[in-house]
Symmetry: C2
Subunit: 158 residues, 2 copies
């Protein structure tokens, strides 16, 4: 496990994502770590992140899969290019599409574990699969099509 998380290598000027930006003090500030062939994120929902009494809100699950998925892509791309984490800022990835299958209700009060893997990597596009488990039981599965953020993304969309 790396000491710093994937998100710690995002450039500061765009590290404001509510899900994973280290500089968003209101947000979830998820942390993803590279382990072997995949990225792992452990997250403890707040007691009020409920869907129904006792279960985690599906929107939070989608959000975690999204942010952990783009984090997985950013890290995997750097490693694919022979870089090491810590050799500079990571290239950010944005989500083109997100699909989540809710397999079973996710109990609240326990740590969620998300594991992201590269399913396909082609040019600026990466398809990432993410599995969410609670105490070893898979309760949701996601897939994202992510694109490496164009260098002019922020200026072009202003």
């Amino acid at each position: 496990m790396t000491k710093k998380a994937v998100q710690d290598y995002y450039p500061d000027d765009i590290a404001v994502c509510y899900g994973c930006g280290k500089l968003n003090e209101h947000g979830h500030r998820i942390k993803s770590y590279w382990e072997g062939e995949e990225a792992v994120c452990r997250f403890q929902p707040k007691p009020y992140h409920t869907a129904f009494p006792g279960y985690v809100y599906g929107g939070l699950i989608a959000s975690l899969i999204d942010c952990h998925g783009t984090g997985t892509a950013a890290c995997a791309k750097a490693l694919e290019q022979g870089k090491t984490l810590g050799s500079g800022n990571l290239q950010r990835f944005v989500t083109a599409s997100l699909h989540v299958d809710y397999l079973a209700p996710t109990p609240i009060g326990k740590t969620l574990e998300l594991r992201g893997r590269v399913k396909e990597s082609k040019g600026r596009k990466m398809i990432i699969s993410v599995s969410l488990t609670v105490e070893g039981k898979e309760t949701a599965r996601g897939e994202l099509v992510t694109l490496q953020m164009p260098e002019d993304f922020l200026t072009k969309n202003k």
Copy 2:
């Protein structure tokens, strides 16, 4: 437009969803209203619901599409059965799968408008499509497979 929102007709004992529960004081408390053939939800993101500076967090977009989609299903099912809103609590729907296509960055600081429609209704299953626009421009599109919540959902999953 109905005076009360779809979510105001959810039974109190399960109205704790972070996205749409009227009794979750930390949550988004979205409100969906039936208009003609569709349900409409207008939502103002907080300034900190950012993805990148100036743009709305994709996880929030997925969350809104999810909750507005299940609200659309609950309302549409009641109307399909010849009921009127206000004749009793609505049957809740849960999400089996959620798909979101992010078509363009969604600017922050403006009101998001989500419109949900029934794509398919068969027994306890409803497929709902949701379009998200900002000032008339569609920036995201979603589709949910939703299932009417079994009566023993909460007790069975305890």
